[in-house]
């Protein structure tokens, strides 16, 4: 009966430089703050930018199309 094996996969090596990189994770994590202040978080910035854009768009639309109450005399009269 033949007995097969997975020796190539069993003997796979991890490059030492890769292990060094991984071992440096604790040191690099101490240097950079893990949690950003709330005003620098992507979600907060994106929400603020969206609100500003929507307000600006609303104002533009209002002045271009919605301001019908200005008493302007019809040009024909």
């Amino acid at each position: 009966m033949r007995k097969v094996n997975f020796n190539t996969l069993n003997n796979l090596t991890v490059p030492p430089e890769l292990i060094e990189k991984v071992l440096a994770i604790p040191a690099s994590s101490e240097n950079t703050p893990a949690i950003l202040p709330w005003y620098r978080r992507t979600k907060v910035l994106a929400t603020a930018a969206s609100i500003v854009l929507v307000v600006l768009a609303g104002i533009s639309v209002y002045f271009f199309f919605g301001n019908k109450n200005i008493p302007v005399r019809p040009s024909g009269s």
Binding site: R2, K3, V4, N5, F6, N7, T8, L9, N10, L12, T13, V14, L18, I19, K21, V22, L23, I25, P26, S29, A34
Partner: protein, 162 residues
Amino acid sequence: MAEKRYAGLSFEDAVQKYAKSVMTACTVRLHNRPDADDCFQNTFFKLYHHAPDFADENHLKAWLLRVAINECKKVLRDNRRLIPLGSVRGISDAPADDRYDISWALMRLEEKYRDVLYLYYIERYKVDEIADILGSKPNTVKSLLMRDRARLKEIYGGDDDA
């Protein structure tokens, strides 16, 4: 600040002890060394930042393998592209010199099928443990194993003289 322990091991010991298993899991799944290196680093990054309390070293190893496999899935999802089989250093699509070494045949299976065979034959996990790691049912793992064996046999070929 006290050093964080992972099932009694320091971070360095955990990396040294399980680096090979994590790297093999990533390589088997991705068949691409640069991506496997990225997943390897991400796995240990998650260990450092998001590790739960481990009951024992088996729990730690299973957690690492699950995270590694999930990282690989993420890479494959984000980065769908064709990769030549010979791109992994040390593993080619050609049969190895050792005629009984069928690593090359395993690497020719579809990605999703490699995990089960890898965990069963290389990491020597039981069906229930594999189901736990992969987040599937034991019966699914059993049927996958059966299908994988048949497929592996198909790829390996029928040289019964060996």
